[in-house]
Symmetry: C2
Subunit: 258 residues, 2 copies
DNA sequence: CGTTCCCTTGAGACCGCTCAAAGACCGTGG
DNA sequence: CCACGGTCTTTGAGCGGTCTCAAGGGAACG
C-alpha cells in the first residue's frame, strides 16, 4: 500500500467570483431534482464559497476538525480511512453532485480523510448554518436526510461486495458502479468514461492486493466486456459486465442537489 | 450458508396498551439525549403503536414495501442483504434504542431484510408523518439526520473491517463492538453480555465461512481475552481484545432517541 | 430416544497474498 | 534530443489464509 502522492498545500479560492447556484451546470441535469427559486436563493446564501484544489491533494485529514460541508462541482475525490497507518480502505468516491462531510456531524471530527483524484472545484458550506436550514427549509432538511439515507444504501451494497463477492465480481461491480454513476452526471461519452484512478485505488476500495487486482483486471479485460485505454474505461458489453459483477439493483430516481 | 429459521407469521400488537414515551425505560439511560416534554409529546403522537415478534422472525423482507420506521425497545434484530439467494451479508445488528428503516426513504422499498434474534418489542412510526416532524420539529429532524450520519460512521468502520482486517481481527473487533454497544444500553453485567447470535451470524457479518469462523473464534478464546459460556460473552481482558481487534476509536456521545 | 440445530474437527484445494523484478509511461533537466 | 528518476503496470514464483467438503459430537426438545 502506497500513498503515492504526498499532501500538498491546498489553495483556497476567494468567496467571490464563483458559480451562481441559479446557473449551476449540475442543476440543469435530469438526475437532479427541480428546486424552486426561493430554495435556490437559500442555497446560494448558504454557500460560503468555492474551493479549488489540484489533483492528488488531501483536502481533509482523518481525525481533523473541519466545519465545512461540500458539494463536488467538478472533478473526482475519494474518502478513505486507514488502519495502523498503512492499511488504507477507500470508503467511496465523490463525483460531481455528491455531497460530503455530513458524517462529521457528531463533533466536527472527520472520521475519514478526503483526497482529490483530479483538479476539483467544491462548493463549500458552513456546518453551523445547517441549523438554520433545518429551521427554515424543512424540505431541504428532508433532502439532506434523503441523501444520507441514499449513502447508507450505497454502503450496504459495498458491504455486500466486500463480504460476499469474489475478487473478479468485486472489480466488475466497481467498474460498472463508477460507469453508471458517471453516466448520470454526463461523464460518459460513446460508452466510455475517463477513470482518474490507479489500480491501487481499486485494490484499496475492494480490500484486495495490488498484484491480485492487476491480474484479475486482466481477466475481465480478456473476457471482452470492457476495454481500458488511456485512462478510459470503455464498456463494450454492459450486460455481461453487470452479470460478472452480480449487479442486482439499479434503482435511480432524481436526487436532490445542494 | 443456511437461513436456519424459516419466516414465521408475525404478530401485531394493538396500538393500545403500549409503553408511554414519557416513561420509556430507554429514555432514562445516560446514553440518550435529554428531551423536553413537548418533544416527547410529539414523539408519543408520532408513535403509531408497538409491534412484538418472537425470536427468529423475519419482520421485513428484502425488496418489500413497508411504510414504517422502528425503534427497538427490547431485544435484538439484524439487517441483512442477500446475493443470489444464498450469500447472506449481515449489514448490522439492532439493539435497544436503535432506529431502523430510514434507508427505505427513497421509495419505501427495503433494500434489506430484518430478522429478529430474540423476542422483540418495536416502537412503530408511520413514515409519511416524518414530513410533519420535519416541518414542526426541526430539532427532531436534525436528530434523525444525526442518527443517519452516525450509522454511516458505523458502516465506514465495518467497511474498514471487511477490507483491511484479518479473520482474527474481524472477530475480535465484532465481539468488542457488540460488547461496547451493549454496555451503553445496560446489557452488560459483570463484564458479560448475552449474545443471542450463532457462529453463522458472525460468519455472515464478517464475510467468513462458518468453519473458519469457528476455528478462529477458538484461537481468540485460547488466548484468554474472552470466554464464551452459555450464550454469554465474558470479557476477561478488554484491553487485549481491543488490541486484537485493532480498535481505534471509541467516541461516544449522548445520542438522540426517537 | 430420535430429531434437529449448532458446534467442532480434519483433510485437501484454491484464492488471494507477499516478495521480487522487469517493463511501460511520463515529465524534467541536461 | 536523450538520459534519468519516479510512478504505475505487468509478470513470475511460492506461501498461507480461508474455503469447501465431510463427518462426528453435544445439547435441547418433542
Amino acid at each position: 500500500m502506497t500513498h503515492a502522492i504526498e499532501a500538498v498545500t491546498t489553495d483556497r479560492a476567494p468567496a467571490g467570483g464563483t458559480t451562481s447556484c441559479h446557473h449551476c451546470p449540475l442543476r440543469a441535469m435530469p438526475v437532479f431534482k427541480h428546486r424552486c427559486d426561493e430554495e435556490i436563493d437559500f442555497i446560494q446564501r448558504f454557500k460560503a464559497g468555492e474551493r479549488k484544489a489540484g489533483a492528488g491533494v488531501r483536502i481533509l485529514e482523518e481525525n481533523q476538525r473541519d466545519t465545512h460541508l461540500f458539494t463536488v462541482l467538478t472533478g473526482w475525490v475519494f474518502r478513505y480511512r486507514t488502519l495502523e497507518g498503512d492499511r488504507r480502505q477507500i470508503i467511496n468516491f465523490g463525483l460531481p453532485g455528491d455531497f460530503l462531510g455530513l458524517q462529521a456531524t457528531l463533533d466536527d471530527t472527520m472520521s475519514h480523510g478526503i483526497e482529490t483524484l483530479t483538479d476539483v472545484t467544491l462548493c463549500q458550506f458552513e456546518r453551523d448554518q445547517l441549523w438554520q436550514l433545518y429551521g427554515e427549509h424543512p424540505r431541504l432538511a428532508y433532502d439532506v436526510t434523503w441523501l444520507a439515507a441514499q449513502e447508507e444504501r450505497t454502503f450496504e451494497e459495498q458491504l455486500l461486495t466486500l463480504g460476499q463477492r469474489s475478487a473478479f465480481e468485486r472489480i466488475a461491480y466497481l467498474l460498472w458502479h463508477l460507469y453508471d454513476r458517471g453516466r448520470h452526471v454526463g461523464l460518459v461519452h460513446d460508452n466510455a468514461i475517463e477513470l482518474p484512478i490507479r489500480q491501487q485505488h481499486i485494490a484499496d476500495t475492494l480490500g484486495l492486493s495490488l498484484v491480485h487486482t492487476n491480474k484479475t483486471l486482466q481477466k475481465i479485460r480478456e473476457d471482452g466486456a470492457i476495454e481500458i485505454r488511456e485512462r478510459c474505461l470503455h464498456v463494450i458489453d454492459e450486460e455481461r459486465l453487470i452479470r460478472h459483477g452480480r449487479v442486482e439493483r439499479a434503482l435511480w430516481q432524481r436526487r436532490p442537489l445542494l
